[in-house]
């Protein structure tokens, strides 16, 4: 075991646990366990909001899977990854103030709370809870694999051992802390990620002997690496562009991201978060993926592409710095897992348990069930991650697409179209999820349909279905309540 690397990592984890304990104390004082455990009482400022969005979104796929793909595919993948800059401003501008205002009036703590109040339909709630549980599980298993890989390449212990350590630390952390703990550590992690990326990029360029050297080495390995079309020339413009939906504008419909857009304090925080978020996500995405490609001439022949970042960091940096820096991807993965865990358990607890199983549950019962469900979900994800798929990015992206097909239009149209109604929402969710799964299966066997990512067609299809069904079963135009619904209008 390489102690020079492991010690900074352990220090980082210790800090993260302390934050969890601190925020647990703070939560004991706050009134309303649910709103605080799942949303942190809507009190976050600009920096925290930006960082938590970046850290939630920039998960294992941006630190391990993405750079790994860039390592094997070349600049075509860097180009694809840069569609993610849009997430920095798009999510907050689109959902923005309207979602934050409406969520306050609805007393909504999760995305499903919003949908429930907007459409007033049990079917919408259950469909949403179902999609969250199924798809976020896939996403979470992918993160679990990423976390274990990372610990494995740092410490040299076995995969199962690494997976176990990862699971235990995540579970302790998330069950004691809740949303506030997750968000505060997201901020610390986001800052480490931001500076870590810049540092590692510079170190890699130096190790590669400067830019012109690196590019001529890349051309010597395979000239296609520096074109937009991928190592074998198979990345088409249409395929790469379709990622603008999957990892760009479509991110708006990810429940773990959407929930954060109602957690901020005031519009000033949101404005600052748009600036900080865009710069952070742009820098991290560009930097990490450039590192992935530049690592190719420095360390050719890495077999598990997902391990490129840890291996190259250990190669080009002094060990203690590498340890500190690799805390960043581990942090990113942990915080993503934490938020996903919270979301899955909030869907089970809030949307199913309180809504339909036991509406009169006491605060204490809710608390116990919340923690219990969080624990069980974590253990199941551990079991799923024991035999991992090779490239975890694809598992993660599969989940992204599923969530987007389900939630995109019920969320956006619910906010901005007065004639959006429950029939439209139900039809659109079923059409979206169904066509997405069908097209994913088709693509696996026969190659990409129309040459675009599986999410593209379902997103447009579910929009049409939404509009058609909303108009077929037309209801009166919806008006948002003008007051908090509990205080009565």
């Amino acid at each position: 075991m390489n102690w020079a690397v492991v010690i900074p990592l352990l220090i980082f984890l210790a800090v993260v646990f302390l934050v969890g304990i601190w925020s647990n104390r703070k939560m004991a004082k706050a009134d309303g366990f649910l709103s605080d455990y799942f949303l942190g009482s809507r009190e976050f400022g600009g920096l925290v909001l930006a960082m938590t969005m970046v850290a939630t979104y920039g998960s294992a796929s941006s630190f391990l899977g993405g750079p790994g793909a860039a390592y094997s595919i070349g600049f075509g993948w860097v180009l694809l990854a840069m569609s993610q800059v849009a997430t920095g401003y798009f999510v907050l501008l689109i959902l923005g103030k309207k979602f934050a205002i409406v969520a306050r009036r609805y007393n909504a703590v999760t995305l499903i709370d919003f949908l429930k109040e907007r459409y007033k339909s049990k079917t919408v709630v259950l469909l949403s809870a179902f999609s969250i549980i199924v798809f976020l599980f896939s996403a979470m298993a992918a993160q679990w694999v990423g976390g274990a890989y990372l610990i494995q390449s740092l410490t040299g212990i076995s995969y199962i051992g690494a997976l176990f350590i990862f699971t235990v630390s995540v579970l302790i952390y998330v069950t004691i802390g809740g949303f506030r703990a997750v968000v505060i550590t997201d901020t610390i992690q986001g800052i480490i990620m931001f500076f870590g990326t810049i540092m590692l990029l510079i170190a890699v360029i130096i190790a590669g002997g400067g830019l012109s050297n690196i590019f001529s080495d890349l051309v010597a390995i395979n000239p296609n690496l520096i074109t937009p079309f991928g190592n074998d020339g198979s990345l088409t413009a249409a395929y790469v562009s379709s990622y603008w939906i999957l990892v760009g504008v479509g991110v708006i419909a990810l429940p773990q991201v959407a929930v954060r857009t109602m957690s901020y304090k005031d519009s000033k925080s949101m404005h600052r978060a748009i600036m900080i978020g865009t710069v952070t996500v742009g820098t991290i995405m560009l930097g990490m993926h450039l590192i992935g490609v530049f690592a190719r001439p420095i360390m050719p022949g890495i077999e598990v592409a997902d391990q490129v970042i840890p291996l190259v960091a250990l190669e080009v940096l002094p060990p203690w710095l590498a340890g500190l820096l690799l805390a960043a991807p581990l942090a990113a993965i942990m915080s993503t897992v934490d938020s996903l865990l919270l979301l899955v358990s909030s869907s089970v607890v809030k949307d199913v348990y309180i809504n339909y199983l036991k509406p009169k549950a006491t605060e204490k019962q809710v608390k116990n069930v919340s923690m219990g469900v969080t624990g069980i979900v974590g253990v199941v994800a551990f079991l799923l991650a024991i035999s991992p798929p090779e490239l975890l990015i694809f598992l993660n992206l599969f989940a992204f697409g599923g969530l987007q097909s389900a939630f995109m239009w019920p969320l956006v149209m619910g906010l901005y179209w007065r004639y959006a109604n429950k029939t439209g929402a139900i039809a659109s969710m079923i059409a979206g999820i169904g066509s997405y799964i069908a097209i994913s299966l088709y693509n696996q066997n026969y190659g990409e349909l129309l040459g675009v990512h599986a999410v593209t067609i379902p997103v447009f299809f579910s929009l049409i279905v939404f509009v058609v069904f909303s108009l077929l079963y037309k209801q009166e135009a919806y008006e948002f309540p003008t007051r908090n619904i509990n205080k009565g209008a």
Binding site: T227, P228, S241, T482
Partner: protein, 147 residues
């Protein structure tokens, strides 16, 4: 909707007596009330006549459109430079600051350009609003009475 001209009645009487002297003042008042009308116009077009749409929602709708515009600009820049400059064989690439031109313009400059654009939009095009409902009621009443 009828535009209420905010000129006190005594002034209208005065106008008859001394129209030349007071005219500019009346005009000014009139203009201001039109401006007010312009501001709340979105409210009345989007809602039906009986209901107004809240001022804050009008702002939110506008900012959502700004978000879409930003994404479209971003996409065009990204796509145009990448495939415009990168589609030739790699031997013919020109290099700028060590990077092939398409990578420099699309990925690096494009990202910096978006940073600048986002800063500009946040500084000059977004509006500060309250997210809470307390203290809003008076303002809403005003809007109703203007209708």
């Amino acid at each position: 909707m009828q535009v209420k001209i905010l000129v006190p009645s005594f002034m209208i009487n005065a106008q008859d007596q001394d129209s030349e002297r007071l005219k500019p003042l009346c005009m000014k008042r009139q203009k201001e009330s039109f401006k007010l009308h312009e501001l709340t116009k979105g409210v009345f077009i989007l809602g039906n006549k009986k209901r107004k749409q809240e001022r804050r929602f009008v702002i939110a709708n506008r900012e959502a459109l700004i978000g879409c515009a930003l994404a479209i600009i971003n996409f065009i820049w990204w796509y145009g430079f990448a495939y415009g400059l990168g589609s030739k064989p790699p031997e013919e690439y020109t290099y700028i600051l060590g990077f092939p031109a398409w990578i420099f313009f699309s990925l690096i400059l494009g990202t910096l350009f978006m940073f600048a654009l986002v800063f500009f939009v946040v500084k000059f095009m977004l509006t500060d609003v309250s997210l809470e409902d307390e203290g809003e009621s008076e303002e809403e009443k005003d809007e109703v009475s203007n209708g």
